[in-house]
């Protein structure tokens, strides 16, 4: 891979390559220590945190395996901002990779407070999880409404000079309009996409399998749907798009890059193969070599229609 230009820039953040770890999957990072060389990857996005600790959804059960995927409803269980800054972030920084914090809140002010506290930390960037419920709008997700998404991104923009990434939900009619609103409000990049809303029913008990009733589908099952969302968003915005949704191997990642993603994130695949990100990175390099392409940036959005 010598001689290849793999770098990706998101605002002021430079990643040495386009392969990231998606939020939620990786916990706060230290849980996976020793299982792969995560320092080799472009960036690691940690589990979403909120201002105060959250207990999350009731257990039994929070995750269900489905064909080529899994449905989860953890409910944003997290240690809260203070413990994150004191205990979790320093441990994650030991990987030597760019660490991106993911934040959520019930109001734009909550998001701004988290972003402000992270502004003085060593995180390389902040991802805004706008898929979480908006308390002012009866718990409907911020991310399904362009105006609410814009308000959250603006609030975060006002609180930090760090690169900010808006992570979109795919559970909308027109994802491009949400992306446009986030970019206009100051997002440096768009993550596309979060999980697809889903339900699993236990037919013996005749009730939902997940305690929360519904959850979010991830894994290879959503990949083609996610590739389309990335294509739609990349057509609509000028800022970099980070593609994710069921990436299992380099071929999958290249689909997202060809569709318009400047970087990609590996999620569910890490539970099978903790080195999935490294494997994807190696495969991207092999592809670039094989096609005699010097810079990964040259591939971005180059799908021929």
């Amino acid at each position: 891979m010598s001689g290849l230009d793999l770098t990706v820039r998101i605002g002021a953040m430079t990643m040495k390559n386009p392969v990231m770890v998606a939020s939620g999957i990786f916990g706060y990072g230290d849980e996976f220590k020793g299982l792969a060389d995560y320092g080799e990857l472009g960036a690691l996005v940690l589990k979403t945190i909120t201002r105060e600790p959250r207990a999350g959804n009731p257990p039994a059960c929070r995750t269900a395996e489905t064909p080529a995927g899994m449905v989860n409803a953890i409910g944003l269980e997290n240690v809260g901002l203070d413990v994150f800054l004191r205990d979790k972030l320093p441990a994650a920084l030991e990987y030597g990779a760019n660490i991106i914090a993911s934040i959520a809140g019930e109001t734009p002010e909550d998001f701004a407070e988290c972003a402000g506290a992270l502004d003085g930390s060593q995180v390389a960037g902040i991802e805004i999880n706008i898929s979480c419920p908006n308390v002012k709008k009866g718990g409907m997700s911020f991310g399904v409404d362009a105006e609410a998404s814009s308000e959250v991104v603006s609030a975060v923009r006002g609180a930090t000079g760090k690169p900010i990434i808006a992570k979109l939900t795919p559970n909308v009619t027109d994802i491009a309009s949400i992306a446009i609103a986030c970019e206009a409000a100051g997002a440096d990049a768009i993550s596309c996409t979060n999980t697809f809303s889903a339900m699993v029913i236990d037919v013996e008990k005749r009730c939902p399998l997940l305690a929360a009733g519904t959850g979010g589908l991830s894994g290879p099952a959503i990949r083609p749907a996610a590739v389309l969302r990335v294509y739609q968003v990349a057509q609509a915005v000028k800022c970099p798009v980070i593609g994710m949704g069921g990436i299992w191997n380099a071929r999958d990642a290249l689909e997202f890059i060809l569709a318009g993603a400047s970087a990609v994130a590996v999620g569910t695949a890490l539970y099978a193969d903790p080195a999935a990100g490294n494997r994807v990175l190696d495969g991207i390099c092999a592809y670039l070599d094989r096609h005699d392409i010097g810079a990964v940036g040259d591939l971005v959005g180059s799908v021929r229609l």
């Binding site: 939620g24 999957i25 059960c61 929070r62 080529a68 899994m70 953890i74 305690a211 099978a272």
Partner: protein, 295 residues
């Protein structure tokens, strides 16, 4: 020590810390009674650090197939370590139920498995332990051989009480006699006293066996270890009621196996959720909020 204290259990502190990811050759893949299998894997780095009560997280497909997403058994499967065969073997005991177990049952000796372990916190065996009553129900037997070997090597007297819905629900041969009742000779050979009850034949539960023994327990060196269905664990905790330390080993669906995804949480008495994979799978009964624990 009282039943309400919860000292550190045996383990690495859980998670990736201390756990290894290895390719383990299948040395033996034996069919056992009922729908059970015993796998012997060559995994020296796991064998040398494993403590009884810990588990491994197994990718059920070929380790050469990571680049191809499977449609079934996408996630790893957690299996208790049933035993360590020095110098380099670990044993797993599983009941073939779902897609992952069926895949493992079909794997041939000489093939390799991708295994992460040892994971979680195992049983805590205190210096002052003199007698352990091990209560196991159903596939709760999986970690029992390793536990028995460890206890006996530490000169702890072991009473093993095993229950199952029927004989086929245990991976071991059942032997019955007028004088001795029902027992499992293969486990008795490890050096403990073993009693077995099948609901189908004896019409009794393993907790009935415990009830009979409870009166003779209560000295400083006694402890109870329970492994099996949650209703059984809860009943054992209620029966003992804090008079003796009780350790329980819990099972739950897992995704990551290292404490990251928060899928396998259980309610604890400190009000927080604890992960079965990283904080457990072994807990003191006093740490679990049994009222809030889903059955």
């Amino acid at each position: 020590m009282s039943g309400t204290e919860a000292p550190a259990r045996g383990g690495s502190g859980g998670g990736g810390a201390g756990a290894q990811r290895v390719r383990a050759e299948i040395l033996e893949n034996e069919r056992l009674p009922g729908e059970h299998r015993r796998l012997l894997l060559k995994a020296p780095r796991i064998a040398e650090s494993a403590r009884c009560g810990q588990f491994v997280h197994v990718w059920c497909h070929s380790p050469d197939a990571f680049d191809r997403p499977p449609s079934a058994a996408l996630l790893r499967r957690p299996y208790s370590i049933s035993g360590v065969r020095p110098p380099d073997g670990i044993e797993l005991l599983l009941r073939v139920r779902g897609s992952g177990g069926r895949m493992l049952a079909g794997r041939s000796e000489g093939e390799e498995l991708d295994v992460i372990g040892p994971l979680g916190n195992g049983f805590y065996i205190r210096e002052s332990l003199r007698r352990a009553v091990v209560v196991a129900g159903g596939i709760g037997l999986a970690p029992v051989p390793f536990l028995l070997q460890t206890l006996i090597s530490r000169r702890v007297r072991v009473v093993l009480l095993v229950g199952a819905a029927c004989d086929e629900m245990t991976p071991y041969r059942v032997e019955r006699s007028e004088a001795e009742g029902a027992t499992l000779p293969q486990l008795a050979a490890l050096g403990g006293e073993v009693a077995f009850a099948s609901e189908a034949v004896e019409g009794r539960l393993v907790t009935d066996l415990l009830e009979e023994r409870l009166g003779e327990l209560g000295s400083e060196g006694d402890e109870i270890v329970a492994i099996g269905p949650r209703a059984m664990l809860k009943r054992v905790a209620e029966m003992v009621g804090g008079r003796l330390p009780v350790q329980v080993s819990l099972e739950e669906r897992m995704a990551c196996g290292v404490g990251a995804c928060r899928s396998c949480v259980v309610p604890s008495t400190d009000g927080a959720y604890k992960t079965v994979c990283r904080d457990g799978p072994v807990f003191y009964a006093s740490e679990i909020d049994w009222e809030r624990l889903d059955p």
